[in-house]
């Protein structure tokens, strides 16, 4: 099928780019191997779609498509959680910054009428 050829070509480009970057020292060899595994695995799934069903059956899931769906829900859940925590951290940092800025004003205000009028 043409779509398979197209995707495999794209993956081959990704694979060569990965190793080109590894040679340039942009990414480490270990990272290049990891990414290569991802590209090759994707290639296998594209060329032989039945493999997903084999893996799915191994995990007790009926169809390969179902496995992919379940896996994506888990990955999405994880990503949303990460997003939440990083947003929360950012919120806290903004508050800390705003507080520091507000308290800097305190030094200029020490001689306010409140204390004098007592």
């Amino acid at each position: 099928m043409p779509i398979q050829i197209l995707l495999v070509v794209a993956l081959l480009i990704a694979l060569t780019m990965t190793w080109k970057r590894a040679k340039e020292g942009v990414i480490r060899a270990r990272e290049a191997v990891l990414w290569s595994i991802v590209w090759i695995a994707a290639g296998v799934v594209i060329v032989l779609p039945e493999t997903t069903s084999a893996v799915a059956n191994l995990l007790g899931v009926g169809r390969g498509v179902d496995l992919v769906l379940y896996a994506s829900v888990v990955v999405l859940f994880f990503l949303v959680f990460k997003l939440f925590t990083s947003l929360d951290r950012m919120d806290k940092q903004i508050t800390d910054l705003v507080r520091k800025d507000a308290l800097r004003d305190l030094d200029h205000q020490d001689e306010t009428p409140t204390t004098n009028n007592q």
Binding site: F84, T85, D88, D91, K92, I94, T95, V98, R99, D101, A102, L103, D105, L106, Q109, D110, T112, P113, T114, T115, N117, Q118
Partner: protein, 225 residues
């Protein structure tokens, strides 16, 4: 003992002057934290005789209270009282709240609306809601069940307590958070009856159960005790 009142204020230019004026005579200093209002809250507060700080961005009531508390500590406060800017809190509650601190009977004092003095014009639905919230707070948030008013915003604490309770909730959840932290610590705390006035304005601001879940959520992801 140096008593400083902390008032978080957001868009309160029309209401804050009488609040500051009625409180000034009762404390040594008033710290107002303008929480990023787009009106003249900070200027008005300064004119009324308060030390007025400003959050450049709106960070919520809890964040403003903590900034004000931090400022009060730096200004040498022995007793720090948290007051609402909208006049919901009767200024006479300040001496009531700070008395146990002066006497050395407690480190933190909470004002309770449900200890004898009936709130003025508190709607029935609201009252029922508070009782539900109380149950929820005890069971889910882990606040001591001896607390009669888990949503109380009126509180006073001594310097040591203020330095120890690092509340991190920026928004309305700080109320329950402070209660949790205090009642689970070895700080001595006490509840005293206070009187609260309900007006149409103050009723618009409310708390939701959602806030309680926020505390739990933060306990899980931030891991702060």
């Amino acid at each position: 003992m140096r008593t400083i009142a902390v008032i978080p204020a957001y868009h309160e230019e029309t209401r804050i002057t009488p609040v500051i004026q009625s409180i000034r005579a009762l404390v040594d200093a008033v710290v107002v934290v303008d929480d990023g209002s787009s009106d003249r809250t900070q200027e008005v507060a300064k004119q009324a005789g308060a030390i007025a700080l400003r959050h450049r961005l709106n960070r919520g009531q809890g964040a403003a209270l903590r900034t004000g508390t931090e400022a009060a500590i730096r200004l040498g406060a022995d007793i720090i009282v948290h007051v609402d800017a909208d006049g919901q809190h009767d200024p006479q509650m300040i001496p009531v709240l700070s008395e146990p601190l002066r006497a050395g009977e407690a480190d933190v004092v909470f004002g309770s609306r449900f200890m004898g003095i009936d709130p003025t014009d508190m709607p029935k639905v609201r009252r029922m809601y508070f009782h539900l919230a109380k149950l929820f707070n005890i069971m889910v948030v882990g606040i001591s069940k001896q607390i009669t008013d888990p949503q109380s915003g009126a509180r006073a604490m001594n310097r040591v307590a203020a330095q120890r309770i690092q509340f991190t909730q920026d928004r309305a959840a700080h109320c329950s958070e402070i209660l949790r932290r205090v009642t689970q610590s070895d700080l001595r705390w006490k509840e005293v009856p206070v009187h609260v006035r309900y007006t149409e304005d103050t009723l618009k601001k409310g708390q939701s159960f959602f806030e309680a879940f926020k505390i739990l959520w933060h306990l899980i992801i931030r891991g702060t005790k």
